[in-house]
Assembly symmetry: C2
Homo-oligomer: 190 residues x 2
């Protein structure tokens, strides 16, 4: 169960099995049913979750009330609202399971305790936060700088095989377009 997390961490730091066991202790195994809400806008996010399997959408409502998906979290991805988590402000993001899913959750308090007891964890999350910044920067450049056609191709590359697990509406919400427009793009490209 924790093999995937160990592999994920090993991309950033070298942890002995003993240290990894210590790291794992505060994580809690949780199952979420399809359509179950993990975080609702307005609530405070005090967790980070590592997705073992399944799929989540992390989304917000724009001024017109339309759902804009920030990202999908599948196996090996993390779920949280970092703004709410770090700054203790109500979440603007919603997190919802799109499939029956399994997650390893750690609370903010337990994570902060890990920083104190395991200094090498600082490096892990320094590297992970770098990757998160890169992903968010790419997302901005994509959403505001590229055509919907390119965004669709990027989506296919970033999430191999995921399109088959999503509705057309869900993909369109990630691309920031209507599902009618997505249909046109798919016809043109495929």
């Amino acid at each position: 169960m924790s093999d995937l997390l160990y592999k994920n961490i090993s991309n950033s730091i070298n942890l002995s099995q003993e240290d990894f066991n210590h790291f794992m202790k505060p994580f809690e195994y949780r199952k979420f049913k399809k359509k179950e809400v993990v975080l609702k806008e307005g609530n405070y996010c005090n967790f980070e979750g590592f997705v073992l399997n399944g799929c989540f959408k992390i989304y917000y409502l724009n001024e017109n009330g339309f759902e804009q998906t920030l990202y999908f979290a599948v196996e090996g991805w993390w779920i949280t609202d970092i703004d709410s988590l770090i700054n203790n402000v109500p979440s603007i993001l919603n997190i919802e399971a799109l499939e029956d899913s399994e997650v390893l959750m750690i609370s903010k308090k337990d994570k902060e305790h890990l920083y104190e007891t395991m200094p090498q964890i600082e490096k892990l999350f320094r590297v992970m936060n770098q990757k998160s910044s890169v992903a968010l920067q790419r997302r901005i450049l994509s959403l505001t700088g590229k055509t919907a056609d390119k965004r669709y191709l990027e989506f296919l590359e970033k999430y191999p095989g995921l399109e088959q697990r999503l509705t057309q509406q869900q993909v369109a919400s990630y691309l920031g377009i209507t599902h009618e427009f997505l249909s046109k793009i798919r016809k043109k490209i495929l």
Copy 2:
């Protein structure tokens, strides 16, 4: 000169004066003239810069060739293209001085050496990368979820006094709108 950087760092970690002196060693003091280009799209970014004074625009060209400003970096802000820096890929961002400016620059190599010799620096950049992720997430939510009116009000709040140092075109490029549309918004709001 380094007081501003010391203050900036002290928001994240406690460093003794001795440790701060060690931390400062690899930084290089640089002056940039107004309109001088610090980073050009297509080049590799191998630095981070701490802005002592002046102002920079960090921008990219969208599919239509229009300049979209990702952010302005004024006193106390950092300049880099984190994607290019971390992943050794050509930069998509451009960084240009909008005023005569002074910066403390550190190379990627020197920064990595600091991680090895000063473990407490891991925490500093873990916290800074968290803040960067929060800023980028807010920028996405703003650009794709909010009206231009709200984005303009957010800009005024985020960068107090900066509007008077920028052209209308530069502000419009940050908001993702034309300067004609910005004029209308300003008339409506002011």
